[in-house]
């Protein structure tokens, strides 16, 4: 009997997950094996000790401190980020464009009718058309901001936002290390820890790196749930596993992009 292969059976017996007959049969299977019997006994002892453990709760002062700290750190309520995540931008713009077109038609027909009856008021028409155009641009900017994940596109001076300015937020300083060994990875981490910040003098706040439209895309920035700032980012392939490397404060963390599990930590 191979003990390594029996732990699921031992777990099931210890937890009483089987019916009486099944349980007896399973225990009979383990009976000839001393190691398995010992393992089963240890499982039962651990379970008994754990199940007898009393629950723990916060004290009144801890609870008050907890509520106060949380309240102090909460920013305005976040809204659901993407209600229509899979639609291309032009489809998401369609309602706004349709509304703008309808307004233009109404304004055009109205001014023709007014012009026929009372003469064309060129200034008024120009003002209305400009307002509609501004509305259209505002909608476009809002949609583009949503698409790009950018929180702020307004330049503060009311200038027209160009298409170039609507690009996704860029992350500079992402180092590509290519295919490396585990030893190389340790060297890279050591190098990252001592190098100058490649992400600006103060680094990136995590909120920025969590933008879904980031370029280049970072898969695991969201997992690096530290409160610190990321001051260096790298990407590599270690033993066939694609990883992302983040320097967060004094730590260098390596995440597998397959599942964003932490694979290495260099302190």
């Amino acid at each position: 009997m191979t003990h390594e292969h029996d732990f699921e059976l031992i777990l099931a017996i210890a937890e009483g997950a089987m019916g009486p007959a099944e349980q007896a049969a399973a225990e009979a299977v383990l009976a000839p094996c001393q190691v398995c019997r010992t393992d089963l006994q240890l499982q039962r002892e651990a379970l008994a000790a754990l199940q007898a453990a009393p629950p723990v709760v916060m004290t009144a002062s801890e609870r008050a401190s907890f509520h106060r700290t949380v309240a102090e750190n909460l920013i305005p309520v976040p809204q659901k980020a993407h209600t229509q995540p899979n639609l291309p931008w032009f489809q998401r713009l369609m309602p706004a464009m349709a509304a703008a077109a309808a307004l233009l038609v109404i304004v055009g027909v109205g001014s023709i009718l007014v012009g026929r009856t009372a003469g064309t008021d060129v200034a008024a028409e120009a003002t209305t058309t400009a307002a509609v155009t501004n509305l259209d641009q505002a909608d476009f900017r809002e949609e583009a901001a949503d698409t790009a994940g950018a929180a702020e596109l307004d330049d503060g001076a009311g200038a027209t936002t160009t298409a170039a300015a609507l690009a996704a937020p860029q992350v500079s300083g992402v180092e590509e290390y290519g295919s490396v060994s585990s030893t190389d990875l340790a060297d890279i981490a050591a190098q990252m820890k001592t190098s100058e910040s490649t992400a600006g003098s103060e680094g990136y706040p995590l909120d920025f790196l969590r933008s879904p439209a980031l370029e280049p895309a970072l898969v695991c920035a969201d997992t690096a749930n530290s409160e610190g700032r990321i001051t260096a980012i790298g990407r590599a392939t270690v033993d066939g596993d694609n990883v992302e490397i983040y320097r967060i404060d004094d730590l260098v963390k390596v995440y597998s992009t397959a599942d964003c599990s932490l694979t290495n930590l260099f302190e």
Binding site: A53, P54, V56, T59, V70, P78, S226, E227, C260
Partner: protein
């Protein structure tokens, strides 16, 4: 799906529509269990308090990323466990401390419970002796009573890995308790002699 899960889903939805009270309700519904998980993993009340605060602040900021594919509580535990892991990494150089004698007479709910915790310092020591990965699996499975599948989702590992961690964690814990009780008996024997 349990009543709690349905209620949580509704609260998350309300919160994402801008209802701050829904978040408060979610927090109050889960804060004790999250605190318990953090305390069992970190074995230090101050660190656990920091971790539970950080957990709910993260949940508040990232609630929009909760997909609803699993129960809210599972997602919450995942955030809590990751926060605890971060704390442990940051404080790796510090030795884990046993639970302090913290009682607060003002909190009637916790007074007796804390008293009873102190009756089992051996269990606290045994838990603290486990590697964090084993400890988290045992805490979620055996102390919080999560199904193994939910533990797997909370720890973001395959269910086979969870079974292995629970199995090995319990075995180490029982062995530690046996040794502790053996050495206590030995000390008692010496004292009696």
């Amino acid at each position: 799906m349990s009543f709690r899960s349905v209620e949580d889903a509704g609260l998350v939805s309300s919160f994402l529509e801008g209802d701050r009270r829904a978040f408060d309700e979610l927090m109050r519904a889960h804060e004790d269990r999250v605190f318990a998980v953090c305390l069992r993993i970190l074995t230090d009340r101050d660190a656990a308090l920091d971790a539970v605060q950080e957990t709910f602040i993260t949940v508040y900021r990232k609630a929009g990323q909760f997909s609803g594919a699993s129960a809210f509580s599972t997602w919450l535990y995942r955030v809590a466990v990751n926060t605890c892991y971060d704390h442990l990494r940051r404080n790796r150089k510090h030795q884990a401390q046993p639970l302090p004698d913290t009682t607060d007479p003002a909190d009637v709910r916790s007074e007796d419970l804390l008293g009873s915790v102190e009756l089992r310092p051996d269990l606290e020591q045994a838990l603290a002796s486990l590697a964090p990965e084993f400890r988290a699996a045992v805490v979620l499975s055996d102390l919080e009573g999560l199904p193994l599948q939910a533990v797997a989702e909370a720890l973001d590992v395959p269910i086979g890995t969870v079974k292995s961690r629970v199995f090995r964690g319990r075995r180490l814990l029982a062995e530690y308790l046996r040794n502790l009780s053996g050495s206590s008996a030995h000390q008692r024997g010496e004292h009696d002699a």
